[in-house]
Symmetry: C2
Subunit: 115 residues, 2 copies
DNA sequence: GATAGTACTTTCCTAAAGGAAAGTAAGATT
DNA sequence: AATCTTACTTTCCTTTAGGAAAGTACTATC
């Protein structure tokens, strides 16, 4: 019988990780969720709280996040019409991810400056 | 005094999160770390363990991960020359992130199929 | 009537990511 | 001598992400 070394299976981890990445992928989605979560609910406030984001990108990402049921766009029927963004409760399930990324980033900065 | 509503500050969270994303961004880096972490140490094994990855992309991502000191490329001075990839101990610090992403992805799959 | 603020959209462009297919260099095997 | 295996590289191409700048529609305020 020919010796045939096989690769180790890791699909049970890779698949769900990829599913998550498909949702929160990119440079801006998590920063937007963080900003809205902390209380920024107006377009301009969100924009100003995230350095470097342009209105075009923000508008596009907000639409993506709406489609994934992570954020709601609320149009208040007042004068003047007021548009606010809120996190869906489902977005709170991202908290462990956000903290894991935050902690790692803080530590990584130390590691890199000491290298 | 004019009423000037200001956006809420969330840079202390956004900045480290972005630092982390700069390192592990993209579709392939975490899957590669997972695969190598589980024992796949040869190029071909890693490639076969990650569905859809092409050799070009794998080669490029492995170089990126080497630069970030997350993976080492080891050339064994044997005949035939054998090249293996190993996780650096530093890559273990990514474990909480990987589990957070895995857990969320598993739950999200349930949520989406029930919707 | 002019200016300012809010929440975007539009246009145009560049860079990076990703993929398909084939090629290659070196040694090993038949 | 021919084929196989390993670890890639090369070429070519498409898609996606991202950014700069200006514009717009509406309302409010001076």
């Amino acid at each position: 019988m020919a010796q045939k070394k096989q690769h180790c299976d890791c699909l049970s981890t890779i698949k769900p990780v990829r599913d998550t990445l498909d949702v929160i992928n990119g440079k801006w989605k998590l920063p937007i969720i963080i900003s809205v979560g902390v209380g920024n609910d107006r377009f301009t406030d969100i924009q100003e709280s995230i350095p470097g984001i342009t209105p075009k990108v923000l508008a596009k990402e907000l639409k993506d996040l709406e489609q994934h049921k992570l954020i709601t766009r609320i149009v208040a029927d007042e004068y003047p019409v007021k548009i606010t963004y809120k996190l869906e409760p489902y977005a709170d399930t991202l908290t462990p991810i956000i903290y894991a990324l935050k902690d790692w980033g803080e530590n990584h900065r130390k590691v890199v400056t000491e290298r």
